[in-house]
């Protein structure tokens, strides 16, 4: 291994460095995404406190099981309120695709096709053959060739409507799902915390002594 590293040419070192850089950037991006996800979920979990606050404060619910049942009913109703718009958007996209397929009588329609699908408005590349980026033939890469440049096709009208619907509605729906998940976690946490009885620092003998020491009224 040291012999290989010593005999690396400048181009090899440059290639390894760029690969390392790409890996680090990907790691940082994933970590950033995870950080944002967790932050958003923590923020959304606070809604559960609002939903169950009154019944706990006014002692209408006094046990864990009842709180879980009540909280679940509230959580699901709130999720329905949050998720019906994105799901309607997705259903609208599906209806557009069904209309297109029924008009063209083509039920084998490929949504992401670069001929008459959503892929027509994107740059796409395809791999053909291999090449070696180094002097040694240790690392080989796929030869990447430009396959499609953005252009509009009349036959792909349904995919142009359905694509944004699927993407936007899907993202919106995922955010609602995340909030459902975070609220569920919070409900479970609260149901454990609110009715928790702790004996930390409690000494029965001391407590009896204190009671006896109190003057009788």
């Amino acid at each position: 291994m040291p012999n290989i590293l010593l005999s690396l040419s400048d181009s090899d070192k440059r290639l390894i460095f760029s690969l390392l850089l790409i890996v680090i950037v990907i790691l940082v991006l994933i970590a950033l995404l995870g950080f944002i996800l967790v932050k958003v979920m923590k923020w959304q979990a606070k809604k559960m406190d609002t939903l169950i606050h009154d019944v706990v404060v006014y002692k209408v619910i006094t046990d864990k099981k009842a709180l879980m049942k009540y909280g679940r009913a509230k959580n699901w109703a709130y999720f329905f309120k949050q998720a019906y718009i994105p799901l309607l958007i997705i259903i609208f996209g599906i209806i557009m695709l069904i209309i297109r397929c029924s008009i063209a009588n083509d039920w084998n329609y490929h949504f992401f096709s670069t001929q008459n699908g959503f892929g027509t408005i994107f740059w796409t590349w395809k791999a053909s053959g291999t090449f070696s980026g180094t002097d040694y033939d240790l690392i080989r890469f796929q030869q990447i060739v430009l396959d499609n440049t953005p252009h509009l096709v009349g036959d792909a009208w349904a995919s142009y409507i359905a694509g944004p619907c699927f993407f936007g509605g899907g993202l919106w729906y995922l955010i609602s799902v995340m909030s459902l998940l975070s609220r569920t976690f919070m409900l479970y946490k609260r149901s454990k915390e609110v009715f928790e009885k702790s004996l930390d620092g409690f000494n029965q003998t001391e407590a009896i002594k204190q009671e006896e020491a109190k003057p009788e009224e």
Binding site: F35, V38, V55, V60, Y70, F80, K81, S176, L181
Partner: protein, 137 residues
């Protein structure tokens, strides 16, 4: 410097936990569809019973009852003699009719004359005193 390492460590932790978070969200996305269908069925059932999905649960009704019982009730005297609400349209209208004696080119002389004609308080008092003195003499 410590904060940077802390952030980096947290980043690595999120990177490790990321697949787990994604899987959890994916499972919950499917579960969410089932919840949505169930809630939709419930919504239809509740519609025919004259309620909605967001109607108060028995616990909410109990909370409202407690809150209402805790609110301060008005005294009996106030209950018997409620204050008459004044109709805002019948409230008196105050109109200011005072006109400032603006000095214009036409009226400037008239205003000066009127000021000279009306004796000042001090002058009128002096005159009265003089008259009184003459009577005594």
């Amino acid at each position: 410097m410590g904060n940077i390492f802390k952030s980096l460590a947290r980043g690595v932790l999120y990177f490790l936990a990321f697949p787990g978070i994604i899987i959890a969200i994916a499972i919950y996305a499917v579960f969410g569809v089932a919840v949505f269908i169930f809630q939709f069925g419930k919504l239809i059932y509740l519609f025919f019973t004259g309620r909605t999905l967001f109607s108060d649960l028995p616990e909410d009704i109990e909370v409202k009852r407690i809150v209402e019982s805790r609110t301060v009730q008005p005294s009996e005297d106030l209950m018997e003699a409620p204050q008459e609400e004044q109709d805002p349209f019948l409230s008196p209208i105050y109109q200011n009719d005072y006109n400032f004696p603006f000095k214009t080119a036409d009226k400037e002389e008239k205003v000066e004359e009127s000021i000279q004609e009306t004796p000042s308080k001090d002058e009128s008092e002096v005159e009265k005193q003089e008259e009184g003195g003459n009577e005594d003499a």
